[in-house]
């Protein structure tokens, strides 16, 4: 049996990925998480002295905190199995990746285990997040300088 025949068999037996339902689920769960985030923003503006601009920071922290609790109690992975990208892309997914790695490496000690591995998965999010933020800021600065847009 040659490679081509084998690959045809694999192709034939592979279950189809239900793209449409997966995207629908991701859209719904991702949307729900963002709606909760929006409600938290309203909450901070209404009850504390935050503005629309400054409320984003405590909101992100609150969402990460909620994700942390859900991860610790073992619910986040269940949500993720259903939602896929819907729960991985929002900031709660970032929180989940940090907390799950921290829990996992507790047996190797707090410094080398938890500290050293916490950003094992989230590290690339931070690196490329900072990098893309830099370029976006650069582009906007140029656009402002030449007078296309204003701050």
């Amino acid at each position: 049996m040659d490679q081509k025949q084998f690959e045809d068999i694999v192709e034939k037996q592979n279950p189809k990925t239900p793209m449409f339902t997966n995207m629908l689920k991701a859209f719904l769960v991702g949307g729900i998480i963002c709606t909760i985030g929006q409600l938290i923003i309203f909450f901070y503006i209404r009850f504390f002295s935050f503005t629309e601009r400054t409320a984003a920071n405590p909101t992100a922290a609150t969402l990460v905190f909620i994700a942390m609790l859900l991860t610790g109690f073992g619910y986040y992975k269940k949500i993720s199995q259903f939602a896929g990208a819907g729960s991985a892309v929002p900031i709660t997914g970032f929180g989940n990746s940090v907390v799950s790695a921290a829990i996992e490496h507790k047996t190797e000690g707090y410094v080398l285990g938890v500290g050293g591995n916490m950003f094992k998965l989230a590290g690339s999010v931070i690196v490329f997040g900072v990098l893309s933020a830099f370029f976006v800021a650069l582009i906007k600065t140029i656009l402002v300088k030449i007078g296309v847009v204003s701050w």
């Binding site: 084998f6 068999i9 034939k12 037996q13 592979n14 939602a83 997914g93 799950s100 790695a101 490496h105």
Partner: protein, 335 residues
């Protein structure tokens, strides 16, 4: 005695005197559960790491095996074992406690049968008379090493398999009455089907399984229908179908079975089924062993399949090479 192409005929009748299988909490609903010797209800005890828990599963399975074989640990000549953790730490640490001469083996999930082949060879050579051989895997310990942290939310595809928490060991002795004997062993070749998806091990391992089965049948001059069952270790539901499609023999649909595909029944939570060195070890040394002992099966071929990847080689863009080792077991008439 070594025939060309890796099949070894054992003439001294190495027998499986007794077996011991311990499994974890997720395995208690397995269709094979009644055949397991001990079901431990937690993956790990408090203040224990997952790796330490893996060691404990091995120690328990070994103790059960030796006890059921009416032997004493100090009478065992060699302990042969493997698992999936880096440097075989769990098995090494179990060997530290067992305190008997030890050989650690690694063929990923095919380590179970590899250790049985080496054990049979040692008996055959006459240099040893009692061998303790087997393998284990531990779901959380394996998952964190090969994939993501346990609580990390990554969606698993339908082709993914669930590493079982189990340890299975066998006591091998020469010419024991009323015990299944190992008549042949076929040593696997590393076969690469050029698969790269670590969430579809069944597809990667199927070509290795086919190679070993085919060589075994040719070398022993037999055909599929001569066997009651040819059982692979952990191809999973999809991998088993791929393997069946690779054979033209019509008998394959009945005779080819897979321990991983059956391990968790039809529960879709486990996607394509079970995997791990403990999967083949647990099923071969409990359910299949019992069927041989009570005479339901007379002749079986047990093919443990192993995917020889590491998180490192996978990230470096390597394909997943695989291996499959096989042993043929028979039950002679009771006398």
């Amino acid at each position: 005695m070594v025939k060309a192409n890796g099949t070894i005929q054992f003439t001294e009748k190495p027998s499986i005197s007794s077996t011991g299988v311990t499994v974890g909490p997720m395995e208690k609903d397995s269709p094979f559960a009644s055949a397991f010797d001990e079901i431990l209800l937690v993956e790990k005890e408090k203040n224990e790491s997952y790796e330490e828990a893996n060691t404990r599963f091995i120690e328990k399975a070994c103790a059960i095996t030796v006890k059921k074989g009416h032997e004493k640990m100090e009478n065992i000549d060699v302990f042969i074992g493997g698992d999936l953790i880096n440097q075989l730490s769990p098995t090494n640490f179990a060997a530290r406690k067992l305190n008997i001469p030890y050989l650690g083996v690694f063929s990923a999930c095919a380590s179970s049968v590899e250790s049985l082949i080496i054990g049979s060879l040692l008996l055959e050579s006459g240099k040893a008379s009692s061998i303790l051989a087997g393998a284990s895997s531990h779901h959380p310990a394996v998952e964190r090493q090969f994939r993501y942290p346990l609580e990390y939310g990554a969606q698993k595809p339908k082709t993914a398999q669930w590493t079982v928490t189990a340890a299975g060991f066998a006591l091998l002795q020469k010419q024991v009455k009323n015990a299944p004997i190992i008549t042949h062993g076929t040593i696997g070749r590393v076969v690469d089907g050029k698969q790269t998806n670590p969430f579809h091990m069944g597809a990667a391992m199927a070509p290795a399984a086919r190679d070993t089965i085919e060589r075994h049948l040719t070398n022993t001059n037999s055909k599929m229908s001569d066997f009651d069952v040819i059982m692979t270790g952990d191809l999973g539901k999809i991998g088993l179908n791929i393997l069946k499609d690779m054979f033209t023999d019509e008998d394959c649909h009945v005779i080819l079975q897979d321990a991983g595909a059956q391990f968790y029944g039809e529960d879709t939570f486990f996607n394509a089924g079970a995997s791990g060195a403990g999967c083949s070890a647990a099923v071969f040394l409990s359910h299949i062993y019992n069927q041989l002992q009570n005479g339901t099966f007379k002749r079986v071929l047990l093919v443990a399949t192993g995917a020889l990847l590491s998180p490192l080689t996978f990230q470096q863009g390597e394909t997943i090479p695989c291996i499959a080792h096989a042993i043929e077991c028979r039950m002679e008439k009771r006398n």
